[in-house]
Symmetry: C2
Subunit: 110 residues, 2 copies
DNA sequence: CAGTATCCTCTCGGATACTG
DNA sequence: CAGTATCCGAGAGGATACTG
């Protein structure tokens, strides 16, 4: 099995890249992330954050205060992932209309 | 729902980026792709190629000979995707060891 | 060679309810 | 606030067998 698949599991994750991108400008709290990432469920945000933490891409910092305060921040490696993923995300946004058109065309003939 | 999610559905596909990368140096036949992409099943290669064709990212050319000959080649848009994805794939290869280490470390404490 | 067809399992991920 | 726990349905994707 090609090793590249292991990292495409990160990229292919439904939410991981969006979380990484959302953290580009500095640390955020759980609720702030949830608000920023439209459509993500509480459960999936938790799971995604845990996975990214496990992979060494972000850090989780708990402040023992009331009410609880947890801060998520990209690690240096997480920042390099953000840089590497940026062109792909930009490509995606730029080519979305072209892909929609190609699909309509394809389906119209099929 | 954030529009970026729609494009991550294209890019987040388990095999799509590997197919695009494998076609970077020119057209390949079905069996050549299957051999080059370690671990992909016959079914998933078929499905992935169909999706990429539908999205206008590659072309499928059938030569009516015996035995059958089908050639897959990136479109100009497919080539731009390949360019956009290159940094991420390089990042993947470069950081795999670090991610493995982070996982072992995390699991060792958890 | 380049698929299609079928079956079947397993994981992803949403909804909901509860807690320190 | 920042989670955890539980349940559940849909669909991704692998294995296998067959075909023009």
């Amino acid at each position: 099995m090609c090793r590249t698949r292991a990292v495409l599991d990160i990229v292919g994750d439904k939410w991981a890249l969006l979380v990484v991108r959302t953290l580009r400008d500095g640390p955020l709290r759980f609720t702030e992330l949830k608000r920023a990432i439209d459509g993500i469920s509480q459960r999936m945000l938790t799971v995604t954050l845990r996975d990214l933490e496990r992979d060494g891409l972000l850090t989780r910092t708990v402040f023992n205060v009331m009410p609880p305060h947890v801060s998520y921040e990209l690690t240096p490696m997480g920042l390099t992932l953000r840089e590497a993923a940026a062109p792909l995300l930009e490509w995606s946004v730029a080519h979305l209309p072209a892909i929609d058109a190609a699909r309509s065309d394809y389906d119209g003939r099929g």
